[in-house]
Subunit: 438 residues, 2 copies
């Protein structure tokens, strides 16, 4: 066996097989021999009355599972000593295996409840190399791919340009609800990992006006946020901004985007949604809008009587509110001072901001966060001083604001939270290939 | 004027204008009034013989420039005191401006040679907020958007899934030609910023088999690499991997991908390529293949007589070689020991690796880098020890390799270098919105 492994791959005279198709391309009717390559998902040996054996092999590749029978004694022997997850090549005709090669042997695989039934376990993070191989995780990743693809098609149609987002920089968004930014040494300077590219978006709409990015964000959240099941320390935002737009424009765009994504996933990922037992409802426009004030009143009538005016809505209250709804809804007009300095103060109602969050229904909580932006140098600087933001690292930003920045509006839509909602996952660490949990 | 600014935006009774179209949507024939919003690109006042004045305004928005005439004395006065780059709204009929509002005043703008003729100046990095506003930079960003879009369509057709790539992790690719990885404190652990997601790609092909990512990479290159004009400390790679593929499969895929991108840009960005005076040639398949040995012989006949066997090809030699070609070409089979431990040793020729680089012609240098991968635990561990890679942080990787990892092949294609080549840019810091230069 050792020889076989060493003599892989196809250059070897003994083993010049070429993978001819995937499991999902196999048609039972085709009477040609196929060559499949993939994993031993499981197998079972039955002893027949005539003293021969048949091995029932559950074979797996990137596209799914399929059962084959092996009756040739030398092939039964070859598999019998292998562990599940070993990589093999098989030549098949119908459901029979005619020949078999071993490509990469696996060590014994532990039986982990998190991979079978306990999908909310944190063990899923630790055992990532196994978790990624489950049909459940594959369904989630395929749905996420469909999300990416539909987002791009939407913005192409709406004439937004995709911008390559910054990973690090001298300053980043400080308005991130108590989370910390990661820091690195960049040629002797303290640079921060992007927590949100809001400031860069303002720079870019001075060029192309309508832009979006898949922006990589690091936020070192408090350990306690692990309990929410919807915080990751590493995540992506679909970051959108449009010059000369107001926050109603941004909310309209957000609604159209979300509906486009939901429709695409329902159309392209029927099998995957079924596997996840998720009935994804397409919401109708316009989504319901509640002001922060209305939300506060409603929450006080629930079990959150001690909520103060002007305070951010706590995670658990957000969740409780979201459980009351069966469609996404907006919370608008957060109080002045509660959010980042870049959220625009309402000139007609100075105690509130022209901003919004979108909430998923069913307890899934925050989906998007956005606003009109402050764009006048004096105003921004006054607000930063008011909020006690250290001005170090913002020189480029102040310079920029004095070069003719237009009003704009936009939002960030968290990729993993979107995936979590669409797939109906309890914990967000299922909603990405490589989760980093606070 | 101060009042006007403060009374913006459209909620204000005095200024409830709505942007009705972009410059490139204006048709000379339309006899309806339009409302445009954008920037004062430039203006000039002419005194006419009848003592009246006409102001020629070059107005700019995200889609382009357009000249208008202003004759109303109160509007001429209003613009005359503004600086270039101030943001305004105008009501126009044909080329006449009927009304005008000031949205955001700019400070005096310096005249920078880098924005006009000196496109290779490092000043372009420092003056980013200006640089992004040039028609040249807009053309580059539009071409980059077209690259992104064509890459995705290509992989959708080829049934590859897009994976959300890691930003940070306990370990990253150490095989990065002397560059350092950025480090951050991640909840008390030393984490590294991804320099290449190669190890994660090996994990993911155990799930979906055919995957790609737009992967954010940080490499703290030596300061000297700034001179090459093709190194950035922050960049993106289109990272591709396929299970059960060999390096010829990967090179075939790479050729098809590149031709698809080139064709899409030529089709969608005629105007932008013209502006950049770039005649992009579509290469024909298969691309020429040279082995490392052949390249070394050729370089020794040039001015690089002292190149040693087994050595990486220096940047300047790579560039000189690339200048001899007028189409992209492959360099294959680098010597054992010269590249990262994950490049697969050729079992039939143990002194060389089953790997490749793709070179752009015309001195543009490296385009892609890829290989077949080592996938057997024993082999990988032996090579890491041989190369002196510290094993700290690789536990998850070794665990994974013992769980049945298949052979695979793939490559990384640098987004900014691709943009640089397609646009014909001398310096790579033009090839991205937010360049970080070593």
């Amino acid at each position: 066996m050792k020889d076989l492994i060493d003599s892989y791959p196809i250059q070897d005279e003994e083993f010049k097989w070429q993978k001819s198709c995937f499991v999902d391309e196999l048609s039972e009717k085709v009477q040609r021999e196929s060559c499949l390559m993939g994993w031993i998902h499981d197998f079972e040996i039955q002893n027949l009355s005539d003293r021969t054996q048949v091995l029932f092999l559950i074979f797996r590749d990137g596209t799914g599972l399929k059962e084959f029978q092996i009756t040739k004694p030398e092939l039964v022997k070859k598999i019998a000593i292998l562990e599940r997850e070993s990589v093999i090549a098989i030549r098949t005709l119908g459901t029979k295996v005619n020949d078999l090669k071993i490509i990469s042997q696996a060590k014994p695989v532990p039986i982990l409840p998190c991979l079978i039934t306990d999908h909310s376990s944190i063990d899923l993070v630790i055992n990532r190399a196994y978790a990624l191989r489950t049909e459940r995780m594959k369904a989630i990743l395929k749905i996420q791919d469909s999300i990416f693809s539909s987002v791009r098609k939407f913005f192409e149609k709406e004439k937004f340009y995709e911008i390559r987002p910054p990973i690090i920089g001298p300053a980043t968004d400080p308005g991130i609800r108590g989370a910390k930014a990661g820091e690195l040494d960049f040629y002797g300077k303290r640079y921060k990992l992007t927590t949100s590219m809001i400031l860069y978006k303002q720079m870019t709409i001075c060029s192309l006006e309508k832009i979006y990015s898949f922006s990589p964000n690091i936020r070192l959240e408090d350990h306690a946020t692990q309990e929410t099941g919807r915080h990751l320390a590493e995540f992506y935002q679909i970051d959108v901004e449009q010059a000369f737009a107001d926050y109603h424009d941004a909310m309209n765009l957000g609604e159209k985007l979300l509906i486009t994504i939901f429709k695409a996933v329902k159309r392209n990922c029927k099998k995957e949604l079924n596997l996840l037992e998720r009935n994804l409802i397409i919401p109708t426009r316009p989504f319901q809008k509640l002001t922060y004030k209305e939300v506060l009143e409603q929450l006080r009538e629930m079990k959150f009587g001690d909520l103060q005016d002007g305070q951010e809505i706590p995670w658990n209250a957000e969740k409780a509110l979201s459980e009351l709804f069966d469609a996404p809804f907006w919370i608008t007009d957060y109080p002045y001072g509660s959010r980042g300095f870049y959220d625009r103060q309402n000139p007609e109602n100075p105690s509130s901001l022209k901003d919004f969050d979108l909430m998923y229904p069913g307890g899934f909580g925050e989906a998007m966060s956005g606003s009109e932006r402050e764009y006048l140098y004096d105003k921004v600087k006054r607000k930063m001083l008011e909020q006690g933001v250290p001005l170090v690292g913002y020189k480029w930003y102040f310079d920029m604001l004095q070069r003719g920045v237009p009003p704009s509006a936009g939002f960030g839509l968290g990729v993993e939270r979107l995936t979590r909602y669409i797939c109906g996952l309890e914990k967000i660490w299922e909603a990405t290939a490589f989760p980093k949990v606070p």
